[in-house]
Symmetry: none
Subunit: 423 residues, 2 copies
């Protein structure tokens, strides 16, 4: 079965939003074992949308369409898809009732155009939308003598992603001949080319599982991917290959493993939380340039309250001094971006929150504020626990933008906790 993705939205054609729906769905399709040879984007124009649907259904078996399902007159995807399958439209009473209940609950009048969302193609499978108001839709039928399938999902990623996983995947799974499983090994402190140079002989020999290095912003991932008849078999294959990777020179850089895209994205924070739990320790942060990003990333993880006590965002020097207890003469003599200050910040966060371990960051994220001695990208770190306090300075590449320097700082702070607890 060949799948392809069609995203509908003038805002994508104008570059106002980045098409993350396509990337998300592409990844999920790959993990289900479907081939995908095309992605496309069209705007809210009926003729061009219809032509794109016809073309997608001609060259692929399953066309996944996102966007254009909402209540406005620009939302024309359902009608175009129904036409492509030669279907009429009718009102789905369950969707209509859901809409009425939704507006009653939020206490806003339901305008007439909202009812458009309850119009569905005849013979369609309806995916009720728990994350928004527009339902998803699956259509199937013969076109030019071949069975074809279309799956329509809302455009906003906060609706598209969960609806793909909860509604479209179970629908698609029946067409999938085998299972793919991927295991990610996460490496910190080595580059992609360095990892690849070590693993190249293994990579070239690998058929199933395959081995692929993948450079992320702050780390390198080695993705081990196996095909098999069952998930358990695929997992065993991946485990055997991963064990061989642990026998190579990349082993000291591997800090954790994940096997879902969400966990991979959160690998550093999940690994830090796991280390804290293993040691039964609580955590706090003292943050200047990251302004709360470290604590917020821990709070992203449901159930982190057993380790996260809190943190102090000390953006202004007055807060460093008055809340965290950084001595005024340290700020005067060494400046806010100094290891001395970072050390007091970490100790202060540990003292005021009562956490077992605290990490601090204070730096220059740019684009302004750099000096010849402390250029943009200079970040001082501190870590304090019952064994004492340590500080160090990292010079991130100042050509990176503010937001990347801050994200790299967050990852480094968490890796510092992981390695402190792991040794």
């Amino acid at each position: 079965m060949i799948c392809e993705i069609l995203c509908v939205g003038t805002e994508i054609l104008l570059g106002d939003i980045i098409n993350t729906d396509a990337a998300f769905i592409a990844r999920e399709l790959a993990s289900l074992g479907f081939a995908s040879y095309h992605q496309s984007v069209v705007g809210d124009n009926p003729a061009r949308l219809r032509a794109a649907i016809d073309e997608g259904l001609r060259r692929s078996d399953v066309l996944i369409i996102t966007g254009g399902l909402g209540p406005t007159c620009d939302d024309i995807t359902k009608i175009a898809a129904a036409e492509a399958f030669g279907r009429g439209m009718h009102t789905d009473l369950d969707v209509k009732r859901d809409l009425e209940e939704f507006f009653a609950k939020i206490g806003r009048p339901m305008t007439e155009n909202n009812l458009q969302q309850a119009e569905v193609p005849d013979g369609a499978t309806i995916f009720y939308n728990k994350w928004g108001t527009a339902p998803g839709i699956a259509l199937d039928g013969e076109i030019d003598g071949k069975m074809k399938y279309a799956i329509l999902l809302p455009g906003p990623p906060s609706e598209c992603e969960p609806m793909f996983v909860e509604c479209a995947e179970p629908y698609l799974r029946k067409f999938s001949p085998h299972t793919i499983y991927s295991l990610n090994l996460h490496l910190y402190g080595i580059g992609e080319s360095g990892a690849e140079a070590i693993l190249r002989p293994m990579m070239e020999e690998a058929v199933n599982p395959t081995i692929a290095p993948y450079a992320c912003e702050h780390e390198v991932r080695i993705r081990v991917t196996a095909f098999a008849d069952t998930l358990d078999e695929a997992k065993v294959l991946c485990r055997q290959t991963a064990d061989k990777i642990y026998e190579t020179d990349v082993a000291p850089y591997i800090y954790t493993e994940t096997d879902t895209p969400d966990d991979a994205k959160n690998a550093v924070v999940l690994a830090m939380i796991a280390e804290l739990r293993k040691h039964g320790m609580t955590f706090a942060s003292a943050e200047s340039c990251t302004a709360g990003m470290i604590a917020a990333r821990v709070g992203d993880i449901a159930g982190a309250s057993d380790v996260l006590l809190g943190g102090i965002v000390s953006y202004a020097n007055s807060v460093k001094e008055n809340v965290l207890g950084v001595p005024a003469d340290v700020l005067r003599d060494y400046g806010a971006v100094s290891e001395q200050c970072a050390g007091y910040m970490a100790e202060g966060a540990r003292r005021v929150t009562g956490a077992d371990i605290a990490v601090s960051v204070t730096g220059i994220a740019g684009p302004g504020g750099g000096t010849p001695e402390k250029p943009v990208g200079t970040v001082c770190f501190g870590i304090a626990d019952k064994r004492g306090t340590e500080t160090f300075t990292v010079h991130f590449n100042g050509k990176n933008d503010r937001s990347k320097i801050r994200r790299l700082t967050v990852a480094r702070a968490m890796m510092t906790v992981i390695r402190r607890l792991g040794t």
Copy 2:
């Protein structure tokens, strides 16, 4: 002139990377005044790539192709594009010399396959690449009796983006008859369908500028887009239309305006910072469920240090009590998720940081932790300034995931500051 974008890369089809090239180029094309009705992605397959090039050149005047220009055997874009224009290939000696110099400089032997990057279509315009090794290429010629243009750029965003700006834009500018400008009106507290119901008569009449509502996670944007010969004329047209929108019933919901995608993304925090500056006030947060996201979002904005003093992340009750001074009996009698607690949190943040205004949030972001009286999505807010302290509770839809509830909470907290200062 109609442009379209074709991105070549199996890694995009697999979802391994997000197609930021398309979004970047789309935005630049819009700002140059080009219409763009299609984007597509194909992999490193010669037949499918050639079919996609033919289709793009059939339906548009200018086809911008990214990716597949490198040294490996998968890099087939140049040959496919040359074939589409009926051209042969030759070695460009300047590119060859650049390659040799590049490898001499980095002290690595140049493998034979690198020379493939010096092969260019006959009659092509070459864009020398200062950011990598593969040159960009422009081709023009008659296809089926019409002049058509193709611009080929490397795939990595660090090469594609500067090469588009420095090489492709000057090449394209000669075709651009006019400029596009978009003004976004940001609305809070009204849904997309509600806004559209009010604006539909204007939307239907609008030709230039056009008016389009756009639902974002926490707000609705009305995008007013004008074409004109000059940027100034386009701005005047948008202003006139925006002024008419301010005469409708959506006016009370408009909280700010932006005119770049980056500012649009940050509209709430930029509007809050602007209000704080207007009043010469400093800001702090006290955050439980958001765990630092509010302060971090303010810190995202370069130069926010004139308003952001800092914040307290009080994830644990002990931090609410010991750092923010929430009385133990309030926590015991009303719980951490209560307006009483939120009020003390906001006052505590204001007191310990010395900020002029502080906002607090304490809630249940889920998925666990909900109770019948306080289901997932219940968030209590507090705001404290010299006029006193106010608190209120919002019940976000508990079906939303943790991360969305927290993002909605951040937006609501900032809107609370904007409206408190605006009244």
